[in-house]
């Protein structure tokens, strides 16, 4: 339909039009590549993932080696040797911040994947098959939805036992509490996609139920789920820090930013560095994923612009 008008437009304009890809995904990718918020968020996220995967590349001191802590150097300020100072046990804050990234990133990514797969999968089933499967899954989700997240996580983690608390238990506690959100979003998207004509048409042209669900409904319903999942990633990282701060999340000797903040709290006025730096990194990490999520939402849901 644009063919007729294109000939009357200046050549430059038509070039831009012709270059712009047309599918939802390539269109979204086109928008994302030109979005500064996305680029900054993606760069930060990439650096953080690299840091958490290979902390030894960023710090010559292995923070997990207790021999590197020297009580004689406890609570020193910023020096050329200790960029972020040392904590009250004489451990290097910079290397601890670097090694602490792993727990945050792991909890964020694994929890996101689990909630998306479990909640999204159940939402797809509930929305597509409807009837009793929808009633069953939706009611189940509402039960979990009704639990206040922080309280629920505190409860789950203290029941599982503080001795065994680690990355796995924190992930589980968060996943149990947050999958219903993904179910709701996927279910709503599937129901709205299901009533579209192309689904009826696909059925009329002989597509099987499984094919309709995976090929015709899922690709048209997955965008809001991806947006929520990306935004959640930052929230999960913050939640992990919060739970560790409260003492029910990951436990020492595992290094976590929440734990570091908690440990440094009593000496904050005397020596703020061991609290400020992990807090700063935590904020930057959460910000990076929130920026990513916002950019993805803008790209996938043009109606919000």
């Amino acid at each position: 339909m644009s063919n007729a008008t294109i000939t009357q437009q200046p050549a430059k304009h038509t070039d831009v039009k012709a270059e712009k890809p047309a599918s939802l995904w390539s269109d979204a990718w086109y928008d994302l590549r030109r979005n500064k918020v996305f680029l900054i968020g993606a760069l930060l996220a990439l650096i953080l993932i690299l840091v958490s995967a290979f902390p030894q590349l960023f710090s010559h001191i292995n923070a997990y080696d207790p021999a590197t802590c020297d009580l004689k150097n406890a609570r020193k300020g910023i020096t050329s040797e200790h960029w972020f100072g040392t904590d009250n046990l004489g451990c290097d804050t910079y290397s601890r911040v670097i090694y602490g990234a792993r727990v945050s990133i792991l909890v964020g990514i694994i929890t996101t994947v689990i909630t998306t797969v479990v909640g999204g999968g159940m939402g797809l089933v509930a929305g597509f098959f409807g009837h009793w499967s929808d009633i069953l899954l939706s009611r189940l989700a509402e039960v979990f939805f009704a639990i206040p997240p922080i309280l629920g996580a505190l409860l789950i983690l203290s029941v599982i036992g503080r001795d065994s608390a680690g990355v796995g238990t924190v992930v589980m506690a968060l996943a149990v509490l947050y999958w219903p959100l993904l179910l709701r979003i996927m279910r709503a998207a599937v129901i709205s996609a299901k009533s579209q004509d192309f689904v009826v048409a696909a059925r009329a042209l002989g597509a099987s139920s499984g094919r309709i669900m995976l090929r015709h409904i899922l690709p048209n319903a997955v965008a809001p789920v991806i947006v929520t999942a990306t935004l959640n990633l930052g929230a999960f990282i913050a939640a992990e820090a919060g739970l560790s701060f409260l003492g029910v999340g990951v436990q020492s000797p595992t290094i976590s930013w929440g734990l570091m903040i908690s440990d440094a709290r009593p000496w904050f006025l005397a020596q703020p560095e061991p609290l400020l730096f992990p807090a700063l990194f935590l904020s930057i990490t959460v910000l990076a994923f929130v920026m990513l999520g916002d950019a993805v939402r803008d790209a996938l849901d043009p109606k919000l612009r």
């Binding site: 042209l205 090929r215 690709p219």
Partner: protein
Amino acid sequence: MTNPSVDTHVLPGDRVGAEPLLAVDNLHVEFKTRQGLVRAVNGVSYALSAGETLAVLGESGSGKSVTAQAIMGILDMPPARVPKGEIRFHGTDMLKVSEEARTQIRGQRIAMIFQDALSALNPVFTVGWQIAEMFRVHRGMSKREGFKKAVELMDRVRIPAARQRVNDYPHQFSGGMRQRIMIAMSIALDPEVLIADEPTTALDVTVQAQIMELLAELQRESNMGLILITHDLGVVADVADKIAVMYAGRIVEHANVHDVYNSPAHPYSKGLLESIPRVDLKGQDLYAIKGLPPNLLDMPTGCAFHPRCPYRRDNCVTDVPPLYEISGTRSSACHYFREVLDGTAG
């Protein structure tokens, strides 16, 4: 076209020869709603032979689309229910075969196209992918073969520069082109019956004619049976062989196209014909059938058309008119079809 899972349902020598390609017999469809039971289709019967075009005519809510959806087996059940009737395809009652057997028939042997081609095409895949999907799923072709076939089909439905446009997305096409793509998908597997549910309603008049011409041509080439569902009498005149006029879930007149056009035998068909705008009557008031279509939750007693009928007499309010046979090819569900034919009274 050999399909064992389907063919086994037809017993050898099972009066297949006597059967039309597709026969709808006394079909009833009802919907359970909060307000009560909606009887959308009340005893519809029609038959279609290979190479024949049957136009099903009627206003919104007359049950014409629901009948087609029942034939395709794409009604949502529940809320829909088929309490009575048969849909025989090659003599086999489609309502009794398994869902797997129906999935085999859908698309391969009976296909359907829809009113709004934009919303009937999946927005996230290219049109070539969608046409090729038919071949990949049902014919086990590779991606490349499928795309080659897609280009061939797009050529066949006269999409200019098919090779360049095969990787475009549905929203990049105009309304008429989209409908052509929908048609390409529906004829991909050489179906024996094609149901077109208001295929031209969303298009402008010149494109309407092109699409109808294309459908007629494809039908001639492949000798498929075509059911054309429409509310537009002008569309059917040139292409249809037979017309079934529907009102409130029933067929009120069933006849050859020319008979209906020359002398309608039911007051409703007559009203429809008279409400077509005509150039020679320019300046005069356009005829409209008085009143509104009946509420399917609360149907009038007797003949459903009686509140709007100029030929109404006392027994129309109490007696449901059967489908009177006027001649071998023609029937009308009106107690007073003779008066309607003569044009007296009213």
